[in-house]
Amino acid sequence: MKKALWLLASLALLGVSAVQAQAFVWPQAWTTAKPGEVKRGGTLKSSTISDYRTFNPFTTAESGNVPSLMAGRAGFATRSPSTGDWVPYMAESWTISANKLDFTFKIRKGMKFSDGEPITADDWITTWKIITDKAVGSNARDGFFIDGQPIVLKKIDDYTVKVSFPKTDATALGQASFTPWPDHIFGKAYREGGAEAIKKMWQLNANPAEIVSPGPWVLETYRPGERVVLKRNPFFGEWNKDEAGNALPYLDRYELLIVKDTNAELAAFLIGDIDVYAPSTVDQISQIRKAVADKKLDATLKVNASPVASSQFMVFNWNKKSDPFKEKLFRSAKFRQAMSHIVNRQAVVDVVYGGLATPTYTSVYPVLTQWVNPKVAKFEYDLAKAAKLLADLGFRNKDKDGYLVDASGKRLEFNLVTNAGNKQREDMARLIADEAKKVGVKVNFTPIDFNVLVGQLLASGDDRPFDAIIIGLSGGGLDWPFGQNVVPCGTNLHMYNKSGTCLDARETQMHALFSRGRTELDYKRRLEIGNQIQAIEAELVPIVYIAGPNYHPSWNNRLGGERPDALLKSIWGQRDVETTFIRK
């Protein structure tokens, strides 16, 4: 008996040493945590604004969902915050075929799910199959199609997967680096019960013991509307090490407090109930800075660390067949340039964001520094230039109310709407309407219900109901920052023109450049195409960009392992939870 135990133990040791050879080493450059000073154990307490809806990775629709929290960076490749490049993660390495269409990934050996089952090629294949099944309705499905043609996965052997793309794609590695979910759980259910069986799995009332994760965390408890507690996946540390060879993550638990109210969230941070926080307004920042200055709170706050990858903008409707006067106006680049001139972005930053925001001029968010074309034209706040442009369009005289009229006496007037309840957008609209009045443009601003707004914005055809809308988008990748649903004509979020075809020659140019850029694998040349798109965009002003908020990461000083200052940006976040540790 004893002998048998010995044998088992030595086998386990052998296993460990075999695994160690396969480990992924988290680069020191990603974090300020020094392997020598880290402590093990403890709980990181964070918060989230909305409650979770499911633990099912295939039906989840919200951002920051539990499956993605559990999975961490899980995927073939992961993006390095220090270089911005894709580095092998769950794959040891990959090869690309000569035609740049086939990516063959060698899967790292010795990786295990949290229930101890090995992670192999079947898990990727099953995940891909389930996501692409229409009947499951997964949010991730559209990512597996390029212009309607599917990305196909093929298992070569247990530790090799070939991913074939229908056309060359700049974002290929990002698309291929999805999280594998266990075949022995989902694959089994899928083969037996199809899509319906998948949809019923891992709902909020599921027993946490049934939930299995490939990443650093696995569900421990969930209290509806209150808190999710994740515990360390004991097998994750076998293939994830810091540079000194310590198993990751350092922490035992990762808790997320569900806080719907922003004031309650701030209170929780001030009183020490949560460790990390990203204040979004100057009011929140003032409370933290004051508490820190008065030595009531031992925390760090980096004000204006970087812009956030999002922007608010005003979009004019090019499809107004029933109102030719307005249609002609909104399709005129000069008019839109004039409208850009009346947007007092500094006042927006001041009034709406309390001084902590960044003005924007193109669809590339300022945080994606390498992609921003610094040489593009900027139609900055300048009422005189706006008046001149409008005069060029024939609006020279003013009527008795002080508004500009054209030669036929028609008043320069349009309706501006945004979603009611979004105070920031309402304030922007008010600023724009008041500035417009100064040059003699009558802007009728009304806040309307969000769903009505979306309905109007996404209506298609050559006669759409709205004049101008203020709304925001976020996202934008580092591989190719232009939205595939946004830039090409005829796509769903091509908001200014939803007639289905390009109406302006420059619009057509942008459409073509987008396709070229998306399929261009050479980074330098892709950057060049991106700059061209921005140059056209800046002249055409299809969308009048206004401003986006800044990122102000903050954490309680009992935590260690945040990013070095140079990497402290909204796109990378303040830390990897894997390399976070508790100082005291």
């Binding site: 004031n263 004000v303 309390g354 009611a420 009304t446 806040p447």
Partner: protein, 450 residues
């Protein structure tokens, strides 16, 4: 003892008695006075405000400006002087990063003038008369912010004046419609409880022609409703032609007529049941959702204030249920009282009994609960604003201003406490209305007159 008091009381009219009694409740009298002031000021908001409620300037910015300090003493001579303010310069606090404003005596003193004209910022009184006559003001570039400014730099004092128009009127508006409906329907339900009305078949039946017309209409409406519902269902059920539908309709209507003719005596309608069940149905309507739906139904270019009043009006329309239940209960017991029984014995009509005997007996209850439901509506308006369903910009209300303060969170307490003024005004209005209601209740209660 009681005899003599009774005689002196009788020599005064009912109103005088109530008034004398009311004046004894000192808090109620104060409540009444405060409300009088508030409503007057709100009515003449333009006159009492210093600036247009939506006026602000972007250069130099005046966002989150604290209340101006009014000086009464000349700093050079140290003597009392006409009240004046200084212009201010903006700086940023190094710790909080919030703006702060320092007085800048270099720009000179700006004396407060009374009864000024501001032609560049006119206002309209009662939506009719244009005016630019204001109680007080200072010359530009000096600024008089009695209650500070908001994030735009709009004068909160002026916004409070205008916000009061919405907050103070909304209560009266919402309560009024709910009360009329609740009173009438609750009264009918209580009075006719247990006395079902027999519904005659269409075109036939007993009673005068005048009596038959409403019933005929009732049946026609019912038939129409059924028919349209059926057509709707058929439209989504495949395999039916228009002819099928027509045949089915004719058959169904015929059958129901036959049934009605045969069992007409069984068709009875108890108004109490009908109204009380209606109350239950209506109370099940999700009010918040109705609000969202209604918001979307009105055209977007409609005046925001008008939309809000309409919405409140409709909410009042569904808010009469609770009151109807109470009135019904009152009437249920009142109609068994001796005086109603006596009136009935004397041959008084139902309408007369309700109008002359029952409703007046509920009057004191009504007045009191009206004065208590108005502050409820004022608080309700603030909750709606908190949820983003209240009145919208450019209009404002105390609830909207308070929810702005709430959105600012703790910074509203520490960095700019002046944004809490709307909370104080809500508090004062609700308190005053409640004391007024209290006083009225005591004044109307005949048993407590001593």
């Amino acid at each position: 003892m009681t005899e003599t008091r009774g005689q002196t009381l009788r020599s005064r009219s009912q109103a005088q008695v109530v008034w004398a009694q009311f004046r004894k409740h000192r808090l109620a009298v104060w409540g009444g006075r405060i409300l009088l002031v508030m409503y007057t000021v709100a009515l003449f908001a333009g006159f009492f405000s210093v600036y247009d409620p939506n006026y602000y300037e972007t250069s130099p910015p005046k966002g989150n400006h604290p209340p101006s300090i009014v000086h009464f003493r000349d700093p050079d001579t140290g003597k009392l002087s006409r009240p004046f303010v200084y212009a201010t310069k903006r700086e940023f606090d190094v710790i909080t990063l919030q703006p702060k404003y320092l007085e800048d005596p270099a720009q000179g003193k700006f004396y407060i003038h009374f009864f000024v004209r501001t032609p560049e910022q006119p206002y309209t009184l009662f939506k009719l008369f244009k005016s630019d006559f204001r109680l007080f003001g200072v010359k530009a570039p000096g600024r008089l912010f009695l209650a500070g400014t908001d994030n735009f730099g709009r004068d909160l004092w002026s916004r409070l004046m205008y916000g009061g128009q919405v907050s103070l009127s909304i209560g009266i508006f919402a309560s009024f419609i709910a009360f009329v409906l609740g009173l009438v329907l609750g009264g009918i339900a209580g009075y006719f409880s247990g006395k079902p009305i027999k519904i005659s078949a269409p075109f036939l039946g007993k009673g005068s022609l005048l009596w038959r017309i409403p019933f005929t209409l009732f049946w026609l409406a019912l038939a129409g409703l059924m028919a349209s519902a059926m057509v709707q269902f058929w439209r989504v059920t495949p395999g039916f032609s228009v002819a099928d539908v027509a045949v089915g309709l004719v058959g169904l209507v015929g059958a129901s007529f036959a049934l009605l003719a045969a069992f007409v005596r069984l068709v009875q309608l108890d108004l109490d049941d009908l109204i009380m069940r209606l109350v239950e149905i209506i109370s099940a309507i999700p009010g918040l959702f109705l609000l969202i739906s209604l918001r979307a139904v009105f055209p977007t270019n409609m005046d925001a204030l008008l939309v809000f009043y309409l919405v409140v009006f409709i909410l009042g329309f569904i808010g009469w249920g609770g009151l109807a239940r109470v009135v019904r209960g009152l009437v249920l017991s009142l109609r068994e009282f001796d005086f109603t029984q006596a009136a009935r014995a004397l041959g008084a009509s139902d309408a007369r009994i309700i109008g002359r005997h029952i409703l007046p007996s509920t009057a004191s209850y009504i007045i009191v609960s009206l004065s208590l439901s108005i502050p409820g509506a004022i608080l309700g308006e603030s909750s709606l604003s908190f949820l983003g369903l209240g009145v919208r910009e450019p209009y404002t209300s105390w609830g909207l201003l308070l929810s702005d303060a709430q959105a600012g969170g703790f910074a509203s307490f520490t960095d700019r406490p002046w944004v809490l003024w709307p909370g104080f005004f809500i508090f004062l209005a609700v308190l005053s209305w409640n004391f007024l209601g209290d006083g009225l209740r005591d004044a109307f209660d005949p048993r407590k007159r001593h």
